[in-house]
């Protein structure tokens, strides 16, 4: 017998997640449906061919992937190290430091980007993809640090001390204990970082100077069109990127030791 909670969960998931995604995908493959006129659905691929024929789409997809991947890797490294330090050490001014780590999301990122733009011009980082990666760290790193801090706090120092006493070196401790236990945090950071990085229009335009084209820069001009099928196709294309990155990260996580492979989890 299915429990009532399960029914509620599946109903909400269908209503709020699967349903809208299904409609979006359906819309991208059909012409605009005028159900009031009694028309049936007409399938088409024109929206995708218009999308692919845009001269900037491939370049924008490539740069979005490269920038997203770099932002993710830097977030993982800095987030993990800072999260661990915040969770395991105790020192004067720790609360202040925690507040400072969160500060970038309290100030409008546009203000930071405009301030940094001059600095980046001076050091030659303006109009480069490296500059865009650095500016994308501003709205992403505070979340990553917070997520890793909480994750380390959750499994506690004693577990790591236990591994050390059993003879694990710092690297083996990271490889065999920390990373496997941080999987949920890594997944959250992956999604959050990629989605935030992919959504940055203004700061990418300012620091990239129009030379670094990412998907939002291509996407916004499309907003002027009234073709909902084309918009839906673009949205599906847009959504495939984080999904692809998530798949890559999931495959990499499978390489970690003590991972239950999906086909071993049948018990």
């Amino acid at each position: 017998m299915i429990k009532p909670m399960k029914i509620i969960f599946y109903s909400l998931a269908i209503l709020l997640f699967i349903g809208p995604v299904f409609l979006l995908v359906l819309q991208s493959f059909t012409e605009v449906w005028q159900f009031s006129a009694g028309q049936s659905l007409t399938f088409q691929l024109d929206s995708y061919s218009t999308l692919v024929s845009d001269p900037n789409i491939m370049e924008a997809t490539f740069w979005s992937l490269v920038i997203g991947a770099c932002v993710l890797v830097i977030n993982l490294v800095i987030g993990l190290l800072s999260g661990k330090a915040l969770s395991s050490s105790s020192f004067k001014g720790k609360s202040l430091l925690e507040a400072l780590f969160l500060a970038p999301i309290l100030i409008p990122v546009l203000a930071i980007a405009m301030g940094l733009h001059l600095f980046m011009i001076r050091i030659g980082l303006a109009d480069t993809w490296t500059g865009v990666v650095l500016i994308h760290l501003v709205p992403t790193l505070p979340y990553s640090i917070k997520i890793f801090h909480n994750a380390y706090h959750q499994f506690g120092n004693h577990l790591l001390e236990q591994a050390e006493i059993l003879g694990a070196t710092g690297f083996r401790q990271l490889h065999t204990i920390e990373l496997p236990l941080l999987k949920p945090a890594i997944r959250s950071v992956t999604f959050l970082t990629i989605v935030i990085s992919l959504s940055q229009y203004a700061i990418t335009a300012i620091i990239g100077g129009g030379r670094i084209i990412t998907l939002p820069l291509v996407f916004f001009p499309f907003l002027q069109t009234a073709n909902t099928s084309l918009m839906a196709a673009f949205s599906v294309w847009f959504a495939l990127l984080p999904f692809f990155m998530y798949l890559v990260v999931e495959l990499l996580l499978l390489l970690l030791p003590y991972t239950r492979k999906p086909w071993r989890n049948l018990r």
């Binding site: 004693h158 050390e164 006493i165 059993l166 694990a168 236990l181």
Partner: protein, 320 residues
């Protein structure tokens, strides 16, 4: 003599607070020492220093003749079982046991299988820690520590998170298990009974030093100072120099020379099936616990201390 563990003048200070004050003791191969003392006395800090998780302010720790004072925890062959089992939640029981051995480069399937059999959990080898009980988890933690073949094993109140019945069962099991493995052990507890059961010798720890280190008989027969006598709860401390064993206190006036005091009944309980009273001796400001027996449930009555039974504390220092 080459000891498994030789602790020389160990001193630790946190700010102005002295935790260890020139602590000194030795432990031979296969011996077990129980360290017992009130909560917050610094027992756990001592174990953390021995394991390398904290560094001493000064002093030396020798492990089988080798100075390991400044070695990292993963570079000194000392095992530590914490109050909580701290099993790695993403590993199965078998993988947990094998982990320490693997890190030490001493992993073998037969050793893991032997340990699983020894802790009677061979049927649970592929279970995850969350799928076994608290007592089973603590056994796995112990097997994991043993698997890395430590030169000295430290146990920090490993049964404190278990219920009374399970704790008692595990005590005997662990005691037998460790003596079979011939492991040199330091067992920390705040429970005197547990300390007597688990250790060949008992060290009573207070104010950063071992107030007395001896076997259970000697400690009970000759407590060296008022703190030890009070901690044992088997003596009435008369002053800083004299005490009397509780079984020598009389409720009827003895014929010989004696002292008498007034005892006030605070409350009573049952201990080992016997009605036991908790009394306050007004003149001495001491509280004692003794069988009610022939006294009866009177609110106030006189107790008599035969002079020939009164003994003097003989400070012996740290002995072994």
């Amino acid at each position: 003599m080459n000891y498994s563990l030789d602790v020389i003048n160990l001193y630790k200070k946190f700010g102005e607070k002295k935790i260890l004050q020139n602590l000194q003791f030795q432990l031979g191969q296969g011996k077990s020492l129980s360290i017992v003392g009130p909560s917050g006395s610094g027992k756990t800090t001592l174990l953390r220093i021995l394991a390398g998780l904290e560094s001493p302010t000064h002093g030396t720790i020798m492990l089988n003749g080798k100075n390991v004072t400044h070695h990292k925890p993963n570079k000194r062959n000392i095992g530590l079982v914490f109050q909580q089992p701290l099993l790695f939640p993403h590993m199965t029981v078998k993988e947990n046991i094998d982990y320490g051995a693997k890190m030490a480069g001493q992993s073998s399937k037969s050793k893991t299988a032997d340990l699983l059999r020894a802790i009677s959990l061979n049927d649970y080898a592929d279970r995850f820690p969350a799928e076994i009980s608290g007592g089973q988890q603590q056994r796995v933690a112990l097997a994991r520590a043993i698997a890395s073949e430590p030169e000295v094993l430290l146990l920090d109140e490993p049964f404190s998170s278990l219920d009374v019945q399970l704790r008692e069962e595990l005590r005997y099991w662990v005691k037998d298990f460790l003596s079979q493995q011939q492991t040199t052990t330091i067992f920390v507890t705040h429970d005197l009974e547990e300390a007597m059961l688990m250790g060949d010798h008992i060290a009573i720890f207070h104010e950063g030093i071992f107030q007395q280190l001896d076997d259970a008989d000697e400690i009970h027969k000759h407590p060296v100072n008022p703190f030890v006598a009070r901690f044992l709860k088997s003596h009435l401390v008369i002053d800083d120099h004299q005490y009397i064993p509780i079984q020598s206190i009389r409720s009827r006036k003895p014929e010989g020379e004696h002292r008498s005091y007034t005892a006030k009944l605070l409350h009573w309980t049952y201990t080992l099936g016997q009605k036991t009273g908790h009394f306050y001796i007004e003149e001495l400001h001491e509280t004692i616990t003794m069988p009610i027996g022939t006294i009866g449930l009177k609110e106030k009555f006189s107790i008599y201390l035969p002079l020939e039974k009164i003994q003097f504390f003989q400070e012996a220092g740290n002995r072994k």
